[in-house]
Symmetry: C2
Subunit: 191 residues, 2 copies
């Protein structure tokens, strides 16, 4: 990927984030770069190509993170805390891409769509495995495992909706708060 292509991709992602994939036209993207719409096709084969690159780039980042964590011999709580920290780190350091990745992947068509869902499920399985370990260890409440996994992921992913890079909380702090919330809930522990 050339420097210019990366530059264009970044500009495109800023607009896609703001307007959503389906509502963004190739002309919108070109305008923000002050080039002609046709010029984009010197770098990308189609509009969907931009979406594809964005979604799969993010997917592999998450993939790498979870696979590394799953090889480490920590207990479930530690593993979950690490997974959440990595997840938040990836989301917040690529905020535009992250929003597109989470929201617009449904617009992928054909094989791309299938492969994406596959990747997503594989990541979900990584998280599920950690929670399952926690239950097996007797440290986590027994609960519907699919339910727990989705609830964890939803609260983690939602941060892209309100995260402010200039806010008072950095990624690590958010991850810790979130981990505490997920692990301990709202109610005070009886000590």
């Amino acid at each position: 990927m050339t420097e210019r292509k990366r530059q264009i991709l970044q500009s495109a992602q800023a607009i896609l984030k703001k307007k959503g994939y389906a509502a963004t036209s190739v002309r919108d993207i070109a305008k923000s770069l002050e080039i002609e719409p046709a010029s984009l096709y010197s770098h990308f084969s189609s509009k969907e190509d931009i979406l594809k690159l964005t979604c799969f780039d993010m997917a592999s980042k998450f993939d790498e993170a979870i696979q590394e964590i799953n090889t480490l011999y920590f207990d479930a709580e530690q593993q979950l805390r690490m997974a959440i920290r990595e997840h938040v780190q990836i989301l917040t350091s690529h905020l535009d891409s992250a929003i597109i990745f989470l929201r617009d992947w449904r617009n992928l068509t054909g094989e791309s769509h299938l492969k994406f869902v596959e990747k997503r499920n594989s990541y979900e399985n990584g998280i599920r495995k950690i929670i399952q370990t926690g239950i097996d260890e007797g440290r986590f409440n027994e609960s519907d495992i699919k339910f727990a996994t989705l609830t964890v992921l939803s609260s983690v992913n939602w941060i892209v909706e309100w995260y402010n890079p200039n806010g008072k909380l950095n990624a690590t702090q958010i991850a810790e708060k979130l981990s505490n919330f997920i692990l301990s809930g709202l109610i005070k522990n009886k000590l």
Copy 2:
């Protein structure tokens, strides 16, 4: 609203749910009803009109629910459980509308957009008030109140992504599981 209009609205929502607002054309909607695209304009003034009706219908359902709960004199835990139960009930009994409401409201323009955000914030405030009460009562962990509110709402809203009307869990059961998760977290309480 005539019977026919309600019927058309329902058909439209089924497609909007599947494809997303921006990616759905007026012709798509007409086709599913086996009428001509132009015929839709006997019932709706514009494509956005359909989105507007859907979003604001759902918004008032949530609004009514939270306002009623806020007038009741239960403690925070009971109130939060009730709010979650009502929320899940509304989502699952209007699944198509719910998905559009949660995902596509960004496509509202002008005044509609503004009013919608206002309504949404007002609902968020209702939930926030309950959590704040729990903290004041000394029953909930002290935590970033905005953070807690958003985390609660995100995990509740995410159920539309996986809820299956024919699955083994009904709305009430989901609400209870979710309440337990949010209130107690993953880690077992030390008794």
